[in-house]
């Protein structure tokens, strides 16, 4: 079973930069208000999390690094890699970039 999280719909069509201090819809805000809870929920239910990146106006690397790097720091690189699938038709290179942020997340 899997749960789908579409960032443009479940968070914002205009994601921002890294920190809340940068402005609205930051990576930090996304992690703290949406992603963390969602990930805890799927782990509890033993589901997979499908994250759809399409539909927004575009992402800054700092947003993705903050959100998914922090997820990997808090839950572990392998746990995240084994339980999250990223989908991006509009910017396919983002999937590799995010996997890099997860792999390089420092605990």
């Amino acid at each position: 079973m899997e749960k789908t999280l579409k960032i443009s719909k479940d968070f914002s069509p205009t994601p921002g930069a890294r920190y809340r201090t940068d402005g609205k819809f930051s990576g930090q805000e996304f992690y703290e208000t949406v992603l963390k809870r969602c990930f805890e929920e799927i782990l509890k239910l033993k589901y997979k999390l499908k994250i759809i990146l399409d539909g927004t106006h575009g992402y800054a690397t700092s947003f993705l690094d903050e959100a998914f790097g922090t997820l990997a720091k808090d839950f572990g690189v392998d746990v995240v890699k084994n339980n999250v699938v990223f989908i991006s038709e509009e910017e396919p290179y983002l999937v590799n970039e995010i996997n890099e942020y997860i792999t390089n997340a420092h605990s």
Partner: protein
């Protein structure tokens, strides 16, 4: 009756005579000045009066960073170095023949910097019709008081600056839709360009202005409907990329680079970490450069500190006049890649 002492009497007479002489001199000067101003209109007389209280700055006739970087930077540095709060700045653009959205953006950012220091800035528009049209249409006068000819009042060209939020991604999303309309005829999202704009806005605040609360950036977009092209200029008046990088490097690490051009190229290529052995987190510049390499935009120019790089023409110059900040210029046209282009 009290007698005035001879010494005091002598002093009072002398003072009166000096006052009279001063008055005569002033009247003579005023007569001369009026003679000089004879034949001038009231508008010209007012202009002369205002200029006499200001320090006048004149940009080069070709006011374009790409075509005339040294002279434009020299002008901007002179302007930035004006520190006398009691003397206002007068920017005389009358002789400017060529002006671009990049130099307008950078001029606006310097004006804002002067205003932050409490210095009043006024000026005169170009006499040249085309140059006047460019500045009036650019959106410059949404931030600086000045009349716009009716024919130039409606324009898709935009200038935005940092407002309440550091990163204004909702505003840039609209700007990108408009730019894509110019290029393709339809309002479309362009995710790589929006991502890049967020990157630049965030960078300008998180890196460009260490120890400063007056964080500012300016984005200017020019629409060329005939050539179906949108050109972007982004500028921050922070410390500049090279200076920021150097702040983190020891003298030994600095020696690993053959100079500032090499350092900047390495930062864009994302190889600072591998060259220095440092854990370097700066992903913003490499991400911008990757988008350029993947042809999401063209004609990419960066000016920061003493380096000018025109990536398109493979041209790097070490500038004599250093720019304290970072300037980016790029273009979107029909040859650029975007999602759904071949659909």
């Amino acid at each position: 009756m009290k007698k005035i002492e001879p010494k005091l009497k002598h002093f009072l007479v002398l003072q009166q005579s000096q006052k009279q002489q001063k008055n005569i001199k002033h009247k003579k000067w005023k007569r001369e000045k009026n003679k000089q101003n004879q034949g001038l209109s009231l508008k010209q007389k007012n202009w002369l009066k205002s200029v006499s209280n200001s320090e006048v700055f004149r940009p080069p006739n070709v006011f374009s960073l790409r075509e005339n970087a040294e002279l434009v930077l020299q002008f901007l540095n002179n302007l930035k170095n004006h520190r006398n709060r009691n003397r206002e700045v007068y920017i005389n653009l009358v002789n400017v023949k060529t002006i671009t959205n990049g130099s307008i953006a950078i001029l606006l950012s310097v004006i804002q910097e002067l205003n932050n220091k409490g210095i009043r800035v006024r000026g005169k528009k170009p006499k040249d019709k085309e140059a006047k049209k460019v500045i009036e249409k650019s959106g410059f006068f949404n931030y600086v008081i000045g009349a716009i000819d009716e024919e130039n009042s409606i324009s898709p060209d935009t200038i935005i600056t940092k407002g309440v939020e550091v990163v204004e991604q909702e505003s840039t999303a609209k700007i990108v839709l408009q730019a894509m309309k110019t290029v393709t005829g339809i309002e479309k999202r362009n995710q790589p360009i929006q991502g890049m704009l967020i990157e630049l806005m965030a960078n300008s605040v998180n890196h460009a202005y260490p120890n400063s609360r007056k964080k500012k950036w300016v984005l200017s977009v020019n629409h060329d409907d005939i050539n179906k092209k949108a050109s972007f200029a982004f500028v921050d008046n922070g410390v500049g990329i090279i200076k920021t990088l150097n702040l983190n490097f020891s003298q030994t690490l600095k020696k690993l680079f053959s100079g500032n051009i090499d350092l900047l190229n390495t930062a864009f290529e994302g190889k600072i970490g591998s060259r220095t052995g440092l854990t370097y987190r700066g992903r913003g510049l490499p991400s911008v450069f990757n988008k350029y390499k993947q042809n999401y935009f063209k004609d990419f120019v960066v000016i920061t500190n003493d380096v000018f790089i025109d990536f398109q023409n493979n041209k790097s110059i070490l500038l004599k006049n250093s720019f304290y900040g970072t300037f980016y210029y790029w273009e979107l046209n029909k040859d650029c890649e975007y999602y759904g282009k071949n659909a």
